[in-house]
Amino acid sequence: MSSLSEKVRVALYSKINVSGVTSLATGGVYHLTAPVGAKLPYVTFNRQAPAPVTYSFGNTRIAENDLWLVKAVSDEDSSTTKEPQQLNEEILSAIETAVGNSLTLSGGSVTWNVERFADIPEYLETYNDRLIYHNGFLLRIWSA
């Protein structure tokens, strides 16, 4: 993992981990996996796919971009008033608002564009006596 994507990870977390999101995703926001004992619903995010770094002539690096996966995870116990899919959708909507179209990276690097690339196909998994719902989208993040 390049250091730039590591900076993106930190910047993305600080944008997502805000009350507008955590008031819905009450279990929190986590990179890759939630910790043992975390209660659903929560948000996970990770770098999903890299893209080639863009160079100018003379091997000067101009920019790079990655796809980041952001997911809302909930189960049938997460809400007594909403379908899990609906709750996830509301969490994702709050994330989209919180992230906006730009990030500020530490160390002088600049991320100038965050765009929603695509929704992922929703999927389910069983856990003992209930179902866990995964919904999410991919963000393409350009930085330099």
Binding site: Y30, L32, T33, A34, P35, V36, G37, A38, L40, T44, K71, V73, D75, E76, D77, S79, T80, T81, K82, E83, P84, Q85, Q86, E125, Y127, N128, D129, R130, I132, H134
Partner: protein
């Protein structure tokens, strides 16, 4: 022969469990029920849970060894238990247990031993000749 099974399930076993429970040799559990309603988008909404049956005498023991497993992007640690309880209460009324809708919550016990309350998720239930339920359940993390 049918009378024997009926007497066993509706009269004898409930009294045996009741007596054992009275002297602290069995635990006591509540059966938690959940209802689901249709959502507006084709999904389901689970409404608030309630106690369907209270003070059901029960015996439980851990069975086998489990591993830590990733579920819902989270590391989980479950333990499987075998739970036995009578099919009828002391009035001869049947506990109509539904493995899909019901959860079992064993109450805490301070004597003998010091056992915290436990929530068991039902995996499957064997109905033993209409006399005794034997459920395979899982306890999630330290729930």
């Amino acid at each position: 022969m049918a009378h024997v099974f009926n007497d066993l399930s509706q009269k004898i076993l409930p009294k045996v469990f009741g007596k054992l429970s009275g002297v602290g040799l069995t635990d006591v559990m509540d059966v938690i029920g959940q209802t689901t309603t249709a959502g507006t988008g084709g999904g389901r909404i689970k409404t608030a849970s309630e106690n369907v049956y209270c003070n059901v005498p029960v015996i439980f023991e851990a069975v086998g060894y489990n591993d830590k497993v990733m579920r819902g992007e989270r590391l989980t640690s479950d333990q499987e238990y075998s739970v036995k309880f009578p099919t009828h209460n002391e009035n001869g009324t049947r506990y109509a247990i539904d493995p899909v809708k019901h959860r079992l919550k064993v109450r805490s016990r301070s004597f003998p031993g010091d056992e915290p309350a436990k929530v068991f998720r039902v995996i499957s239930i064997k109905d033993m000749q209409g006399n005794l339920y034997e459920a395979i359940v899982r306890r999630e993390d330290a729930e």
